[in-house]
Amino acid sequence: MDIKEVEKVAKLARLEFSEEEKKKIPDQLTKILGFIDQLKKIETSDIEPMTQPLGDEMGELRMNEDRLDEFIKKENLTAIAPEFKDGFYRVKKVIE
């Protein structure tokens, strides 16, 4: 990964690196990706990807009922909010 790629991915990830970090990050990531590249050697064209460790044993994927459940202790949530007023989480202006 070069610095341009790093900046592009960082924007996607909502991160931004300091000048100090930008000196090390491209090399570190390049090295790790280089290590990961060895997976290319493995033949996988007929293989299904595994998304669920227990597979069929897990049974059918469970879907929850489409119903609203109230979180009982709302005061626990508002107490830890950075800025909460009149029932809203306050953030920087979105619409001019």
Partner: protein, 478 residues
């Protein structure tokens, strides 16, 4: 002394929960100064809980299987009203609005929770050194790491501060510190223990599990925390009853076939640890078990597979930390986008950011097939490898770690070096099988060695049976 023996004392009235706690509180305070093993301690809450338990027992109520037992919980789990930081600045101000199912079950069984333990930031690390709150030290040697990411949870049990603790294991984060500190650490089959309330790192890999001083105690804790939870959609519903893991630890293993994968005994493994595994195998044969060499040819790719899948899932799971509803918010944002970016930039540590970057890249358009999809396919192949081996043997025996506890600062310069130390533990998480690390003595420097056992999916009972037998063999040998 085992948890069961202590609970017997409580049940018989020989000792009260409050008295028991008073015995442990000084050890906890001293331990904290020495090891930095806790992020938050709440002795008052614990004292109050112990008192309520004593009152309840005096009123004739039945004692739970963990009545009065002091335990500690890794700081990536919720306990309502207490902090949950995940070892990160971004959650430094976060107070749990609810309680993790596994933690709730422990409390309902009578456990007295005394604090939340230190950990690698967001469970990303193998040494404890990525914690925002500074590293935890290994109680056996204060210049060394205790392992990670469940650093504090392993250290406090090894140091005798509590009788049990909970950790989480995504790539070895219970088993590796258990080996490094000389305690028992177990990762259940994926889905056996509810993940509800476990702050997610990699959702298809994470599992909560127990640390204890001995195999029976770990089994007892698993008895308490295992079980179907409708609040976790990946929670497994056993068709029959879940085994009594404590009862399993007493059964013998005559005729059991143990397989040692040759790829786990090759170069990179310390000679002393290799000798300890071979010695364990000889002792098992004397006890009536059969030892075979087996092969897991994809082992050398396991770390690569993990370091695509885990960061990819983490990049999605950590997207919620944006400073809006909870956690750290940057003090003077320019606009909303800057609020997100600066809160995350300032709140996350460098290892966390590195993994988010890897994961975002691996999932991004143009790279998804080459990286994430590829890794998920190799995962299927790895599962097939293990299925083949388990058709041949009952239990896999291996080292837990390639070396004993290394020095603080030894592997922090090169992330890849740190990643490679997960080689023996990581496959279990990728395919979802249960595994345990049990203490197997020390090396020539007095540092703990751990021996790992693995069993097929949902054979956690068999795993405890084998672990109990090996523990007994070691005890008899002394």
């Amino acid at each position: 002394m085992s948890i069961r023996a202590v609970v017997e004392k409580i049940k018989s009235g020989e000792m009260s929960c409050s008295e028991l706690l008073q015995e442990y509180l000084p050890k906890i305070q001293d331990g904290q100064e020495k090891l930095n093993s806790y992020i938050s301690l709440f002795p008052e809450r614990a004292i109050s809980k112990a008192k309520k338990l004593d009152e309840s027992l005096a009123a004739g109520n039945e004692a739970g299987s963990m009545a009065g037992i002091p335990v500690a919980i890794k700081d990536n789990m919720h306990l309502e009203g207490s902090p949950a930081t995940c070892g990160s600045k971004i959650l430094d101000s976060y107070i749990s609005p609810y309680t993790t199912t596994a933690v709730k079950k422990l409390e309902e069984a009578g456990a007295v929770i005394i604090g939340k333990t230190n950990m690698d930031q967001f469970a990303m690390g193998s040494s404890g050194e990525t914690s925002y709150y500074g590293p935890t030290k290994n109680p056996k040697d204060l210049s060394r790491i205790p392992g990670g990411s469940s650093s504090g949870s392993a250290a406090v049990v090894a140091d005798g501060q509590v009788l049990g603790s909970l950790g989480s294991d995504t790539g070895g984060s219970i088993r590796q510190p258990a080996a490094m500190c000389g305690v028992v650490g177990m990762k259940p089959t994926y889905g056996l223990v509810s993940r509800y309330g476990l702050i997610a790192f990699a959702s298809s890999l994470d599992q909560i599990g127990p640390f204890a001083d001995n195999v029976e105690d770990a089994a007892l804790m698993l008895n308490v925390i295992a079980g179907y939870d409708p609040k976790d959609s990946t929670s497994y519903k056993y068709k029959d009853k879940i085994p009594d893991f404590v009862a399993e630890t007493k059964k013998d293993i005559k005729g059991y076939k143990f397989g040692i994968p040759r790829e786990y005994m090759a170069e990179g493994l310390s000679d002393e640890i290799r000798n300890r595994i071979e010695d364990t195998a000889k002792k098992l044969e004397k006890a009536g078990a059969e030892i075979k060499e087996v092969s897991l040819p994809l082992t050398k790719y396991a770390v690569a597979v993990y370091y695509i899948i885990a960061p990819a899932e983490a990049s999605a799971n950590l997207a919620r930390y944006d400073g809006v509803k909870y956690g750290y918010r940057t003090p003077v944002p320019k606009d909303l986008l800057d609020e997100y970016i600066s809160s995350r930039q300032e709140g996350f540590g460098s290892e966390v950011k590195r993994r988010i970057m890897l994961g975002t890249y691996a999932l991004s358009s143009g790279y998804y097939d080459a990286y994430y999809l590829k890794a998920q396919k190799v995962r299927t192949l790895m599962k097939q490898d293990f299925e083949k081996v388990f058709n041949d043997v009952d239990v896999i025996l291996s080292p837990t770690t390639p070396s004993t506890a290394f020095k603080l600062g030894e592997k922090t310069e090169d992330p890849l070096q740190m990643y490679l130390s997960d080689i023996y533990t990581i496959s279990c998480n990728l395919i979802g099988i249960p595994a345990i690390s049990i203490p197997a003595g020390v090396d020539s420097e007095g540092l703990p060695i751990g021996v790992q056992l693995m069993c097929p999916w949902l054979e956690d009972g068999r795993l405890f049976r084998a672990a109990g037998a090996i523990e007994k063999i070691y005890e008899n040998a002394e």
